[in-house]
Symmetry: D2
């Protein structure tokens, strides 16, 4: 048993942290205020500020680029499009880097390691054919274009993905798409050029073989972003979450990833490592919140004492530390199990972290807000955005309740239960 | 023992509910979308839509106006400015009406029963002199002007109000005010004409006699709204929460309410009934959220069942019902104790409800959000705003932790503890 | 709205409290130690100490006897067997008295107001015929005999009472009983002379008409107490909880209460007020625990401070106060609704208190234990027994989960759900 | 990073589990019933049943003996008194074995790995001199004698060990001991021959140098076990927890471990690995409880469904799985950090697990009890004893609140706070 990160992971994590501390932290608050000012003055907050491209270039120059690329399948691309030593990273090695990036809302984008692009790139890497990779994966790895993932629909319960109704019907050598998606993250970015859309192809097939995953160019006729959704009042520019309608959208059959009917298989393969990434970022976010709480609690005084010495605040600091550390270990162990035996080796674990990490982060951040008083709710601190991010992840990629159902099914399976 | 509301309370509650159902509910979603559209299109969301004034007029015509006016002190004004039978209401009688208004973000304003105007009117009613009442109370009761309450400051812990630093210094027959406030609710409204400002007058006086409560016209030279704050990304137009600077602001000494040094006495008198109002509105808000949760949970289907039949959802519905009902009873009992013996008769109770109601509402609303999936986080439902409202009230009017301190002190006092 | 108890309730509550303070509290610890000594020395802890009969006599002389008897049906018996003014009490009037008795494990017995005798007497009062009342109710009201209630069975889930398997078969003019019960409370008392046994009479009848409630003399041939069960290591002498086997037990058909097939109807009628009693006693128990916690927390010192000033202890005292007060109001409101409209008027409420009160009490007592350190777990304080009592009531009379199911069903029924 | 146990740990864990499954499980229920029968029939439950010695011999023959001996210091003794390959185990290697032993209340004793003997042996190993080791350590390793640890006192808050008052005064070449201890675990065992007693030697010395750790033979004149304490009604025979008085007890100065004034240093050294053991045993206990819950929940039926399919039971199974797995990882990581850098390397971690593991276990066991209905509270299942064990560990070895204080202090220290 050895809880130490590998040398390579330790080095890259330190480099990422140094970049965060010296390049991102000093400008992040200003960045958000500029976007807010644009928003309030009637400007266009969706156009990424030039600062972002500059920082991306710096990050890439320092080898902090596409680090999410997985060992094995990702090695060839890592050698060409990443600069971090020429090989993809294991989940266990990438995890602490993801934690560092979670401390900032900008870092994942600046390192070309942000959802949903990472997940989409992994899909293309694992399931795409050569043409699909050449057309979409490579520019994504370059950071020249962005992508969106269109799965959730407004009219059905997204918690049960088999219910999705948008139709993706084969018509000769074309796929014809009709329907509506929402919470299509990334669709607001002006560089978003490609959507991966999950649609119903064969309602009569077996439950997990009915849907297809289709590459739909953002500018295909019939694709319309109806509106951008807010999450607890926030728009998350420049990515955003869109409601998108598809009206008689036609793409060649060659745009179907891995062929019709394989959407579920692809979605599952996409989600394992993606959930590790999300969860490690939440660990970083919670650490950041706890640091802010400690600093505020030591600096502010009420009733003649620093806030940390009032009421149960020290107990809550301790509880936050326990929650963060135990959840981090749960995620790292999951990453390691994915590395050791693939998704089937970590079915329960992946669902466990998906429940544990957002819940933990939400709670730690809520405490940090409380210690910040009214300021904690404002945008003077990153806490309101952090809370929203953790809260949203209790729903995104499957609500807590669905994951708990998976965990319980696997647990009861050990005792002979069929379901 | 009798848990039935009085006949008058029952009638007015029913009338308020009817107004809500027939006049407000049908237009509320549209109202919020129009404001959002103004916001996004670079329009001015701070200018109240004409609809509001129309509905205010209707509400007033139906006697649903200034119902918050307290029995006794408020009778004379109720007779002139309210139309609900010509006498102020007891706390116990107003409580169920406040619950009804809490179901909608517009209702309190439409009934001229919204914070902070109600609290400010109560201050003028209880502590103001005739001139102050004539100048400010009467137009507030008419709904012709609005007001703000300036207490919290950015640089000190608002949880300990004795630490407030904005200076309100007597200079001859004037009060000179210098300093900065934030979370000054209501200051964004174009009709806001008067601020009640709490300032430090005599740092050498006894701890609770140092501060004064001063009437400062919104347009006095030296008053500047530096910016409007967001709460979890929301601006709460047309009221909003401002950061306000005061630079050599001079007002006549006659603008000091009840004379210099009496701010704490006034603040305490202001807060008892105000907290009952807030808490009853939260009960209404939680009821609304639970209704939405039940409806959504029955209408949406996943894994072949309505959501309410999945996992622990029914248990959570039951827990919400228990939490709402027991908290409502706690608030009603507090209102009754205030009526029976005034604020000193309900010191622990007022703090208890201030802890219990926002916590309960936050939890019920969080559950309702979860049952709504992504939609629950968007502004398609009133849930994100409801959550923010409940969360903010865990800080506003004193954070939970301070109120728990009060309750514990009173409890330990029963066993002989001095503090 | 009026939260004040009636004069009669106030007087009786004060009298009960005075008896508790002057007669019971001074001897209670010694009583428990004597029982423990008997137990450890191989004596017979099941034989009630003479002290109990002496105190019963005193309580009866002071009119603190059979106060549970319900207004209306109970009036005639109250006049003869109670001495508290000659009429039964409403639920709302009895509730605060029950709270007082809950502060002590002896008080309910000393006032002849202890479960399961109270519930059994109510059954006989409401559903028994004259002969049954003469034979069993009157000596129970005198305190000359004791009774047990035999419902739960070891081999089926007691949470679903329709599954109960003990057979109670009509054979001519006799009822023949075969099967096994456990958690038959009261069966250990040497004065226990009568069991009310729920058995399956007609498996083919409608789901809630299959079972009968039968009066079985404790000494009927074929009745055997197989063993006494422990609850968290405690035996609860002199009442205890037994596992009882019934082998070809024959009683006359006239021993069937209200006739065959009516067990469910009777059980429901028995449980409403009984749950109010249980819950009010738990309120009293939680109050007692909080008092002990405050006293211990003020008297004990660690790290140079009284325990109450360490960590989150004051917050927990405040949370306990809020939880106790809001739960008490919930129970009082339920009692009032039962008085106003009977069990059908308070279906959700009765289930709500059954969930809320034990959970609340368990939590408050757990906190009190923690403040008492190791002593809190020992029998030097009544806290270990109190915790066990609260914990057991999360299962007895229906587990929390079943009651939550009832509450949710009623809640969803408001929105049109059939179940 | 590697979460796999070492080969040696894996082998020993498997052997321990096999012994548990084949030798202990089949007889454990019968063992407890025999002890209970002795207790109820006035026999002597403190005399270990012969079965225990037989199983100890078998365990020893299979190398499952003294496995707790630490690598390094323990190697020589492991070679002589253990038979598991002749070297002590690292904390990380022993941890999974401790988990297995936690599944049974007998296993630790049968493997000579039970508290407080293990901690006492470690004290002698690390701080004892040759004579002390020869006289006490060797017979303890043989299992020929037992020991107790006397630290907590009835009259002071045990949470702050510096307040302990029992006096241990140097008088010439003797130590004279006067005072009273309680919760002296192990003192009830007839083989208990030696007590390690913490006493106040020099009240004027620095806060952590006032106390000494003294070896006091059980039969020294003046040592009296006043009574055995119960924990939630349980006596934990044959070890038990005693209240012990010391009246002018005299032992030679050579009985002071490591010399006067070093009690705190010794206590700290004793507690690190000891807490890992306790916590891993709790993990095992929680696993056992979850297994019982799953089995019961699948086997019992109510309302036509297995209990696991009712209400929130599946969610609670999932939550238990998450809680167990994340807590196990927290403990394993702590063990590893202790191995890597000693106690100073894991100060926060040791306190974290001491908070997390008992809390988690208490919660999982409470759920398992609830699924077992009344049976869960009885001694038909090991759940009541398991709950009591977890609850007691929220107090033993320092209450949760003290450990949270330590964690918070270390956390705030990162931000410059002195305390």
């Amino acid at each position: 048993m050895d809880f130490r990160p590998s040398d390579r992971a330790a080095e890259l994590t330190a480099a990422a942290r140094a970049f965060l501390d010296t390049e991102i932290e000093p400008v992040e608050a200003r960045y958000h205020h500029e976007v807010a000012a644009l928003r309030e003055s009637g400007g266009d907050p969706w156009q990424p500020l030039p600062l972002l491209a500059e920082l991306q270039e710096k990050a890439r120059a320092q080898g902090l680029w596409n680090l999410f690329l997985p060992a094995g399948e990702g090695d060839a691309y890592a050698a060409r499009y990443g600069t971090a030593g020429g090989a993809g990273l294991s989940n266990a090695d990438y995890a602490p880097i993801a934690e560092v990036t979670g401390r900032s809302f900008l870092a994942p984008y600046l390192f070309n390691c942000n959802a949903p692009d990472t997940g989409n790139m992994e899909v293309l890497l694992k399931y795409g054919d050569d043409a699909q990779r050449a057309e979409w994966l490579e520019p994504l790895l370059e950071g020249r274009i962005r992508s969106a993932f269109c799965m959730t629909e407004p009219d059905v319960a997204s918690s049960d993905a088999t219910t999705m109704e948008l139709s993706a019907v084969v018509d000769g050598d074309e796929m014809v798409i009709n329907g509506r998606k929402w919470w299509s993250t990334g669709v607001g970015h002006p560089d978003c050029k490609i959507l991966i859309v999950m649609g119903l192809t064969d309602p009569g097939a077996a439950r997990h073989s009915r849907h297809s995953m289709v590459l739909v160019p953002r500018d295909a006729p019939g694709v319309k972003v109806e509106r951008m959704l807010s999450t607890m009042g926030m728009q998350d520019e420049p990515f955003g979450h869109g409601e998108v309608s598809f009206t008689d959208v036609r793409v060649p059959l060659s745009n179907v990833i891995a062929g019709p009917g394989r959407a579920f298989e692809i979605a599952q393969g996409r989600l394992g490592p993606g959930r590790v990434h999300h969860c490690m970022r939440l660990i970083g976010l919670a650490e950041k919140a706890l640091e802010l709480a400690c600093e505020r609690g030591l600096a502010r005084t009420a009733f003649g004492k620093p806030l940390v010495n009032l009421g149960g605040n020290r107990e809550r600091i301790a509880e936050a530390r326990i929650a963060i550390d135990s959840t981090r270990l749960l995620v790292l162990n999951t990453a390691w199990k994915l590395d050791e035996g693939g998704p089937l080796n970590a079915l329960s674990e992946v669902s466990q972290i998906k429940v544990a990490a957002p819940t933990m982060a939400q709670q730690v951040i809520d405490f940090a807000i409380q210690l910040h008083g009214g300021g904690g709710l404002s945008d003077d601190f990153p806490l309101a955005a952090a809370w929203t991010s953790a809260r949203a992840l209790r729903l995104a990629d499957g609500p807590d309740e669905v994951h708990k159902g998976v965990i319980a099914r696997l647990e009861l399976g050990k005792h002979g239960a069929k379901r």
